[in-house]
Amino acid sequence: MVEAVVFVLMGLSAIAGALTVVLARNPVRSALGLLATLFSVAVLYVLQLAHLVAAVQVIVYAGAVMTLFLFVIMLIGVDKEESRDETLPMQRVIVGAIASGLVILVVAITVSGNFEWVPAAADGVIPEATNGTIEVVAESIFTDWVIAFEATALLLTIAAAGAIALAHYRRGPANG
């Protein structure tokens, strides 16, 4: 019951945030909208017992990523308001078409009724999920998923190297 209420609230705020991201003309607003969504989603994680993930979500995303975003936004100018009028020909039409197509799709799926998100368990009752505590998650990460974990190292290296290569201008003959 509680879960339901929280879900509805957070769901709404998540959607609101998402819409802000898409519709706000000022990037700062969009950023804040995204922030809102992230938070609400984190809460939804908690609702689903993914405690650690929720924490990471807040720390990494809200903490690091969004800061970075805002930083860049400031860097390249807050005042840049984006005008609403569509400059691309047809773009509106296309978007409308796609959107309506999606709506129709969703409707069709729901109407057809032959749709379930998760396969119904054998005995019909959803098993009680284990808590996503640090221990269990960590164990999984460092045993089964260890290689993936190592692979993320590559990602971060690339991120670093790439960022430097792109944004950092050295003094040097080859590049001004």
């Binding site: 089964d144 993936a148 290296t157 190297a161 790439g162 040097g172 080859a174």
Partner: protein, 485 residues
Amino acid sequence: MTTPEISWLAIAPELVLALGAAVVLLVEVQWKPAIRLLGWVVAVTLFAALGLTGWQWVSASDSLASGDVSALRAFSDMILMDGFAIFGRAALLVVTILGVAAGWQFFRGLGRRGAEALALVLLAAAGFSIMVASNNLIMLFLGLEVGSISFYVLAGFSRESSKSDEAAIKYFLMGSFASAIFVYGVALAYAGTRQLTILGLGEYFDDFVVSSPAVILIGIGLMVVGLGFKVSAAPFHSWAPDVYQGAPSGVVGFMAAVAKIAGFAALARILITAFPSFDNTFLPVIAGIAIVSMLLGSTLALVQGDIRRMLAYSGVAHAGFIMTGVVGGSTSGVLFYLVVYAVQLVGAFAVVAVVSGPSSSGSELSSYRGLSRRSPLLSGSLTVLLLGMAGLPVTAGFVAKFGVFSDAWANGYQWLVVIAVLTSVIALAFYVRIIVIMYMEDDDSEKIAVPNTVKWVLGAAVAATIIWGVLPASLLDLAADAFPL
């Protein structure tokens, strides 16, 4: 507290590549050596990786012979060491070697930043080879991203041309968009089956009959889209022409080739291993994508004025042809085609890099006028490679096309084959256009000096094109053995 199961051999090549990248970066920071030293490091790294891959092949075939399949699954089914993975990995490494050699002028021209570029190349190779080997879809996604992100950077690497960073941002935005779509597909497939591994999915569908497969189907669709983007199949191709044209010509060949190999390897593995029970459902869709790619690619390639855009669109068409092979349902045809095409593509771009400067963006067809006079080597090899891509006999390209078409036909997609052969005629037309410009339009501007590295690359590419065209058995047998687990 269980301990992780480690199989060093399974990841040895990637490990070496990562180490190599690290060494390059660190050495650079520490000693700022001459770039050619780094070049040697890279070379050693790549060849070592290739050697290890060969070792993997041997041991894999041993354990297959001894029927001990479990040895091929590593890291609790995260990645596999089956023939398919190894073959794909080898292909990636070969292409990387050729790519680095072909683009060497570019890397050298970067001066201090060359190190980062080289490191990124190595890391990209590592990422994609993980992708090819992955059994776990998230793992696959990681590999994909490792590769893609390095590519985003490489695309924007040259600061000379404003086109370069336009290419980068386009590639980046579209790429991450596609990745998101892909991973959402993964998520949906997981939701529908509780499986994150390809083999797991396969087994799952062996055991259960899915009553309402909608979620799974959407998942498949989204994954196809995500990978289709990577291999620049229409209508998910739009990034390709711009990126090919904008990115520095030194690396674009490598990027294109590697992305094709990895993308198609993953696509083939997923479709053939994970969702065989749905093939009647998705094969028509794949065939549809194939047709759109072939037609759109070749017709648009006809009207391009820039050889790199032309190659990009022809790449779209080729994606269509390879899709035909996927429809054919046999991996060997696809793998053979991939290797052949990738080699030819790198070779072709090596020529482009020489003709229109290694770090430039864009290369007008007009700059190829009279190339046969200015550099018979370049024009000659480019001719062979183009004819190879066009799929004329005694080139490997023909054998490749023949293979995939045969598979598709045998698999009941005759109409697809017919359309494919007809579009290959259009394709012929635009390849021939370039040959016309090189041989039949004269322009006596100065001769072009060809760097040795490029000479080697061209030699290799042409040799491969001809030899595998005349005696395909050597490669075809390997490809035939390299079936997914």
